[in-house]
């Protein structure tokens, strides 16, 4: 039988990084097989396909593995060179998108753990810093993509939508388990964007169910930082 485009995604259901890849595959209409990994008992396949990090997500395309969610997203965009494109065509726009995704991952998301790990005044300080960074992000996005904000209204999801959406659309779970950190008063632009993303059919289809996710977060965070 002729070898089709064989795409396998190794992931875990609660991981935003894995959801990024799933969403990208769905946006592009790429059929794939999904393999749920138990990270306490990693499969031989996962260890073989990602020997350096032994982490998910890993995309295996016709037997060849690609690791690191953002690397996978760029690979998907280049390999399946059809519309819709995940990244802009123009090199300067691409540089800006990559800059903001980098900022989001390394500056913003890195601030969630300090919130989870602290209490009282320390936590309040951590939340304040988080909101300020979100503000920097909001202002930056507004400045760099003046035509496109908010991103949706009949447009397809792009690289930034994927990264922000999979990280923040389940924010209510974070509020329930940890603390209220997102508010339309403090970060109106982000909240409007997240609200629009939450309503996108592909995002709805991809995100983990709220209750299940809440239980997972409790298990993950409260058990570690009671």
């Amino acid at each position: 039988m002729e070898k089709q485009n064989e795409v396998v995604l190794f992931g875990t259901w609660a991981s935003a990084f894995c959801k990024r890849v799933e969403l990208a595959l769905k946006i592009k209409g790429i059929p794939y097989e999904y393999v749920e990994e138990d990270l306490t008992n990693k499969s031989e396949s996962l260890l073989h396909y990602n020997p350096v990090h032994k982490k998910v997500p890993v995309l295996v395309h016709n037997g060849k593995p690609i690791s690191e969610s953002l690397v996978i997203l760029e690979y998907i965009d280049e390999c399946w060179n059809n519309t819709p494109k995940l990244l802009p065509e123009d090199p300067y726009q691409r540089a800006k998108v990559r800059f903001w995704v980098n900022f989001f991952d390394h500056q913003i998301m890195a601030r969630l753990l300090p919130i989870i790990m602290t209490r009282g005044e320390e936590r309040e300080k951590a939340i304040k810093e988080f909101n300020e960074l979100l503000k920097v992000f909001e202002e930056g996005i507004n400045k760099d993509f003046p035509e496109e904000f908010p991103f949706l209204e009949g447009k397809t999801l792009g690289y930034l939508d994927i990264v922000v959406g999979t990280a923040l659309c389940n924010y209510e779970a974070f509020h329930e388990v940890v603390d209220v950190v997102f508010s339309p008063e403090k970060n109106p632009v982000i909240m409007a964007w997240v609200k629009a993303l939450k309503n996108h059919p592909l995002m709805k289809e991809t995100l983990p169910p709220h209750d299940k996710f809440v239980d997972k977060m409790r298990e993950k965070y409260l058990d570690q930082y009671p």
Binding site: P51, E68, A95, R98
Partner: protein
């Protein structure tokens, strides 16, 4: 021809990554030295978020973050490609660039710290070198194959500066007997004409980083 400007600081490895990319592709640019203790209004305007160098400014449009700048350069000026053309090989290259970026702090930590923290940095940087040598480089001459590419540039900056750090803290990590292929790679990398001709003065660097280390260690006491 559109104008290209590069804002940098003479001792920065991140700056040199961009210089190497520009030189390899034969792109003319104007270099602007920044005083990081007294940042120019232009730098603050071009990089308001991080206020750091390098910043590439192309026809007045700023791009920040060294590896993002290099991807931009690669897309705008396709001659002497730094990335392979095959998407899978490109993904592998980007994987190793990300790996190097993630692990770089340990190399700086070896230089910046003392005692237990330094011991940990030594362990971490050795482990990184082992993985890079065995799984990244393998049997190849360069990460890019027969000629240098984006991973060589990304890692090359770390490795070259690391050599200076090793000398200052009197700890040798990237040694020929421990990492034969990586050591050979480093020698070959620094022999590539564009690299050889574009490295900051080593004595000046030793002097600068030695002073900085003394200052920062005494400040933290």
């Amino acid at each position: 021809m559109a104008e290209v400007k590069l804002h940098g600081r003479w001792y920065s490895p991140f700056l040199y990554r961009v210089i190497w990319a520009l030189k390899l592709k034969g792109i003319s640019y104007e270099y602007i030295e920044e005083d990081l203790s007294n940042k120019s209004p232009l730098l603050l305007q071009y990089n308001p978020v991080h206020k750091k160098i390098p910043v590439l400014v192309h026809s007045g449009k700023p791009i920040c973050e060294s590896m993002i700048i290099i991807e931009y350069i690669e897309e705008k000026w396709p001659q002497t490609p730094l990335l392979p053309s095959d998407p899978y090989e490109r993904a592998k290259a980007r994987f190793w660039v990300k790996f190097v970026e993630e692990k770089a702090p340990a190399f700086w930590s070896l230089y910046r710290s003392t005692g237990e923290e330094q011991k940990k940095a030594l362990k971490d940087s050795s482990e990184t070198l082992k993985i890079v040598e065995e799984q990244g480089l393998g049997e190849k001459k360069f990460f890019g194959g027969d000629s240098i590419g984006i991973v060589d540039i990304a890692f090359g900056a770390i490795a070259h500066w690391f050599g200076v750090f090793e000398e200052i803290v009197e700890v040798k990590v990237l040694e020929a007997h421990a990492f034969p292929r990586l050591h050979a790679w480093k020698v070959n990398f620094e022999e590539v004409p564009v690299i050889k001709e574009n490295l900051p003065d080593r004595d000046k660097m030793l002097d600068y980083f030695k002073k900085r280390r003394i200052e920062s260690l005494s400040a933290s006491q």
